[in-house]
């Protein structure tokens, strides 16, 4: 779980490197994953995530103006990922879009390996927008409001997409039983 980002933000604003370390360690991998689901290249995704985080440190005097640091970082990563795509003329296509599943590194297993794999596979079949919502909400722990801000859609849409995702997963569980 994330510790209070509000406090971390204030501490970074005061030039506390330790606070920045906590921020980096908490959000680096989620931001890499999010970028990677757009740019599809791990090295580029790592560079974008590191750059965005570093800009927080470089501009720490102005960081208090940021309302929600986590949303801000995800949006910045999204914009830079899209910029990268625009520059390289590689647009996200339906076939290419692969959020979530290339990161099968859960921390501790509550479910059996096969069941977990089946669910992952069902997530792969979700429509892109649905998958993207699911990645941000479930995998990266964003609130509906935060995910909505990052994807520039309404909270209602996020809600609907999560329900669609869960329905598809339930259907997969249904079919496994038969």
């Amino acid at each position: 779980m994330l510790t209070d980002l509000e406090i971390i933000k204030e501490q970074i604003g005061d030039g506390d490197l330790k606070a920045y370390e906590i921020l980096f360690k908490q959000l680096y991998l989620p931001l890499v994953r999010f970028s990677q689901s757009l740019v599809h290249e791990k090295i580029i995704a790592e560079e974008i995530a590191a750059d965005v985080l570093m800009s927080v440190w470089t501009n720490r005097q102005r960081i208090s103006a940021v309302e929600n640091l986590r949303t801000y970082l995800f949006i910045a990563v999204k914009n830079n990922s899209l910029k990268h795509l625009a520059r390289t003329r590689r647009f996200v296509s339906l076939e290419d879009c692969n959020p979530v599943a290339q990161f099968q590194n859960p921390e501790g297993q509550l479910l059996s390996g096969e069941l977990y794999r089946q669910i992952q596979d069902a997530i792969q079949q979700l429509p892109p927008r649905c998958k993207m919502c699911f990645q941000l909400v479930k995998e990266e722990g964003l609130s509906y409001k935060e995910a909505a801000a990052v994807l520039d859609i309404s909270v209602k849409t996020v809600d609907a997409q999560i329900v669609i995702a869960l329905k598809k997963l339930a259907e997969r569980l249904d079919s496994l039983r038969r």
Partner: protein, 340 residues
């Protein structure tokens, strides 16, 4: 309860927004349907299995080593991250999803920005052109096409455009009453669907305007204002044809400073010094996207000194009428000011 409702409740439970009553309903549903209970258990467990977020110490140390160094040979876009994030966040927003849906649902490519009755919106388009959208207006554009160089937007209502100069990619604005073609300029639009009259004022550069159902194209030079009045004449085919007039933009002197009346709505703060209410009407109409009718000359002659900040129209009317008393009411989208 059907499966749809069950899943909706489960989603609420997982995101922690479930109420007590809903929780009880979910329990009851699971008791009546063992299969649902099984699914809920598996999905809850899956939901609680987090992805790894722990960063290897080495990665942090490598990152920390770079802190405080001036970036070397980094492209300009990286150095402007905060600005990019702040300005472009909302605007590039749609692009990602839009790209996804391009293959299947072309109708969803468009980004739509709308303003309510008292809101103004500053929009930076993907080509870095600036749009100030006035109240009660809608702007639509295709972010992906913009990135590819097809610069075309649709607007209904009022807006001020400062178009990024790019001779190779003409910038096209579709209005309810016609089409504007530009290279790099600044101009103001007033074309609300409910109003029979539309106008376009050019501040700098050059634009051409082609009215709907017309073959003639008008060229505007700086300081020109084109006024389009719908349904003035009947054409041979019986379709109403707009009456077109080219005028000069009006300037108002407010506190000794000249403002183009058509764009004064954009100023966040206007300082008034002995300005008569009737002279302020065009600016206020633009600013708030309403029609203001002064019924008594005496009211129009009231003079005001002070500042108009980011007030809503009701706040402003209350303030103005408490200095010099007058009554005001809204009737069919018009604000009518009367002597008390």
């Amino acid at each position: 309860m059907n499966q749809e409702n069950f899943i909706a409740l489960l989603a609420k439970k997982l995101n922690g927004s479930i109420t007590e009553a809903e929780s009880a309903a979910l329990e009851a549903a699971m008791n009546s349907q063992p299969e649902w209970a099984r699914q809920a258990e598996i999905l809850s467990k899956y939901w609680q299995t987090p992805l790894k977020t722990e960063v290897p110490e080495a990665a942090w140390l490598a990152h920390a080593a770079l802190l405080g160094q001036q970036p070397v040979l980094r492209p300009a876009w990286k150095r402007r991250l905060p600005a990019i994030a702040a300005c472009a966040a909302a605007l590039l927003g749609g692009v990602l999803l839009l790209q996804h849906f391009r293959a299947t649902r072309p109708a969803e490519i468009t980004s739509v920005r709308e303003t309510g009755p008292q809101a103004r919106l500053r929009i930076v388009l993907p080509d870095s052109s600036l749009v100030m959208l006035n109240a009660n207006s809608t702007l639509q554009f295709d972010s992906l096409a913009f990135v590819k160089g097809d610069r075309s937007v649709s607007i209904s209502g009022g807006g001020y455009f400062d178009v990024h100069h790019d001779p190779r990619h003409p910038f096209i604005v579709h209005l309810p009453s016609g089409t504007i073609r530009v290279l790099g300029t600044a101009f103001n639009i007033n074309d609300y669907n409910h109003s029979p009259e539309a106008d376009i004022s050019l501040l700098r550069g050059k634009i051409t305007f082609t009215p709907k159902q017309a073959t003639k194209t008008y060229t505007l030079l700086p300081g020109d204002k084109i006024v389009i009045r719908q349904g003035q004449q009947e054409s041979v085919a019986n379709a109403p044809v707009a009456a077109i007039a080219i005028k000069k933009t009006d300037t108002v002197a407010i506190a000794g400073k000249p403002y183009v009346a058509d764009t004064a709505w954009m100023q966040d703060m206007l300082v008034l010094r002995n300005n008569q209410l009737k002279d302020l009407v065009p600016m206020l109409e633009n600013r708030y996207g309403v029609k203001i009718i002064i019924q008594d000359e005496e009211v129009g002659a009231y003079s005001y000194s002070g500042e108009i900040g980011n007030n809503t129209l009701p706040q402003l009317l209350l303030a103005l009428s408490s200095i010099h008393p007058f009554s005001y009411e809204e009737k069919g989208g018009n604000i009518i000011l009367k002597k008390l």
